[in-house]
């Protein structure tokens, strides 16, 4: 069953370094395609590192593996993913008249997924 979360896309060191190596390298693809989940949520949803999860909102969706976030970096109910193609799929075209689409703090739903997505 899908549960509501708040998704924070953002920059990481790994994203910045692999970006320079190339956006079509395996390392960059892995970095922007790994969802960080709070330890409490991983336990509650009975998820293990590497499990596939589907994240979606009214704009789009992506299916990626999840990992447990470090320590208390994320509070329960919050997800993190490196900026990239996946996070952009959940961004709508509306900028509310300011030029900037909602790009952080996105309301999303998360559910477990199978390998076929």
């Amino acid at each position: 069953m899908a549960e509501p979360f708040i998704l924070i896309p953002g920059r990481t060191s790994q994203q910045g370094t692999t970006l320079n190596e190339g956006k079509h390298t395996e390392a960059y693809r892995v970095e922007i395609s790994t969802l960080q989940v709070a330890p409490e949520d991983m336990q509650r949803l009975e998820l293990a590192d590497g499990d596939l999860v589907r994240v979606y909102n009214e704009v789009g969706e992506f299916t990626v593996p999840c990992i447990t976030a470090r320590g208390d970096e994320l509070p329960p109910g919050m997800l993190f993913i490196s900026y990239g193609d996946n996070s952009s799929r959940l961004m709508g075209g509306d900028t509310q008249g300011c030029g900037m689409p909602d790009s952080k703090g996105l309301d999303v739903f998360l559910e477990t997924a199978t390998a076929s997505g």
Binding site: N20, L74, M78, S88, R89, G93, D102
Partner: protein
């Protein structure tokens, strides 16, 4: 400046370029010492992890000068086709510009003016909301040199410099010993406000975990405390931060001799956007009733600040400017790239040193893929892959000299490391501009209906 001007040769085939400038992020660190072997940089002394990745991965790739509809082509043919596309358009968009020199930015803006298009930069999806906020409440500003030499209270808000600007702490804001902070870190109090307890939290004295999308409320709570307004303890439920903590922070802010708020895209990309930036800028302004405070946005790309400066001094506005009426018109939401693409309005695009196909919203990407586009990039980016004309250019700061603006609006010269067989953005843009002017002045303009643009 050519690549050889600033270099010394300690041994045959090995050159050292001193005081080179890293253009990966807005810190624009200009104390690099690069060791160059052939067309590779093999050492980058003083560079951070991001800078090293930048320098070590921008070598000369074996690519054609240009691709036209996916087929290899020469520069002249590509510039001819680029001029044809831009002259044929009714509502062309010029976008990007944050990873090229100020000199190239000027020519891109001139082209947009000649063809009556829209010029927008990556600022609109970065700190564009802060640009809007500047116009509403002003900007109490300072240079990073002042931060280094004076700041004894530093607040990082909605950013993670430890990962996005790794040398900011050590070069500018936390560790350096300055004229009025002789003991460096010991003389400074540091606060991080964020929704995530990032790696940056280890570097500060106080971490305040604000609830998601409550930055505006938190800034106004601090503004209230700055004015001596009594707050209800329920502010903790609203912001996630206890009133006692806020009072303690405000007490420290008032006692500071020189405070600065360095804010990131946690504010501008989250609901509220320019209202969030306005609230933080207004807080810095209010604090000047008590002591000296400034606020500066943390800028991402190496010359995104230069783009703001060039577009501002040329048109009077920082981004999202329409030049099709014979005078500049600024209206974020109407003339910003994400909007004109997502609404399907732009009918051609000139993209310089940017990759919107990998980071724009899906509706914007869908439209960009369907219109003629001219893309200048050293790499075959996602945007270059879908371009009608993809032109390979040299890398600014590594192969090409010029000027960039640090995030605090200080211009910095570039000292390139080695020459490139590829032309610079400036050379290509000048070539496109001259072709456009020749055709405009001779009256040999394409028929938009016939061209299909």
């Amino acid at each position: 400046m050519s690549a050889t001007d600033a270099a010394t040769e300690p041994s045959p085939g090995l050159r050292v370029v001193r005081d080179a400038t890293c253009t990966f992020c807005g810190c624009v660190c200009d104390d690099m010492e690069l060791t160059v072997e052939g067309n590779h940089i093999t050492k980058a002394k003083n560079a951070c992890v991001l800078g090293k990745a930048w320098f070590f991965n921008h070598h000369i790739e074996d690519r054609p000068e240009a691709l036209i509809d996916g087929q290899p082509a020469g520069y002249d043919q590509a510039m001819d086709r680029a001029a044809e596309i831009l002259l044929s358009a009714r509502f062309p968009l010029t976008y990007g510009l944050s990873d090229t020199t100020t000199e190239a930015q000027r020519v891109a803006l001139a082209i947009t003016d000649w063809i009556g298009g829209i010029v927008d930069t990556t600022t609109s999806v970065c700190h564009g909301p802060s640009g809007i906020a500047f116009q509403s409440v002003g900007e109490v500003t300072c240079s990073l040199g002042e931060v280094k030499n004076r700041a004894d209270y530093v607040i990082f808000w909605g950013g993670n410099p430890a990962e996005s600007h790794p040398r900011h702490f050590t070069k500018y804001s936390l560790m350096p010993k300055g004229e009025f902070v002789p003991n460096g870190r010991k003389d400074r109090t540091a606060v991080l406000i964020d929704v995530r307890k990032t790696k940056s939290a280890k570097a500060v004295d106080h971490f305040l975990r604000v609830k998601p999308r409550r930055d505006f409320e938190l800034a106004w709570a601090l503004r209230a405390l700055a004015r001596g307004v009594e707050l209800d303890p329920s502010i903790e439920e609203t912001t996630g931060i206890p009133l006692e903590t806020l009072e303690e922070i405000m007490d420290g802010m008032k006692k500071a001799k020189f405070g600065v708020i360095l804010f990131g895209m946690g504010l501008t990309m989250t609901r509220g956007k320019h209202f969030n930036s306005e609230a933080v800028l207004a807080l810095a302004r209010d604090m000047n009733e008590h002591t000296r405070w400034s606020a500066k946005p943390m800028r991402g790309h190496g010359n995104v600040t230069g783009a703001d400066n060039v577009v501002s001094w040329s048109t009077g506005y920082p981004f999202g400017v329409h030049l099709g009426s014979g005078f500049p018109r600024f209206n974020p939401g109407e003339f910003t790239a994400s909007d004109v693409l997502a609404r399907g309005e732009a009918d051609a695009a000139l993209i310089i040193a940017s990759d919107p196909m990998s980071n724009f919203s899906q509706p914007a990407r869908d439209h960009l893929e369907g219109i003629p586009s001219v893309v200048l990039d050293p790499k075959l980016s996602d945007t270059a892959r879908i371009a009608s004309v993809a032109i390979t250019t040299s890398t600014y700061g590594i192969n090409t000299g010029g000027t960039v603006y640090r995030m605090d609006d200080v211009p910095i010269p570039l000292r390139p490391a080695f020459d490139s067989p590829y032309k610079s953005d400036l050379e290509i843009l000048r070539g496109i501009e001259s072709r456009i002017r020749q055709r405009q002045l001779s009256g040999s303009l394409p028929d938009p209906a016939a061209s299909g643009v």
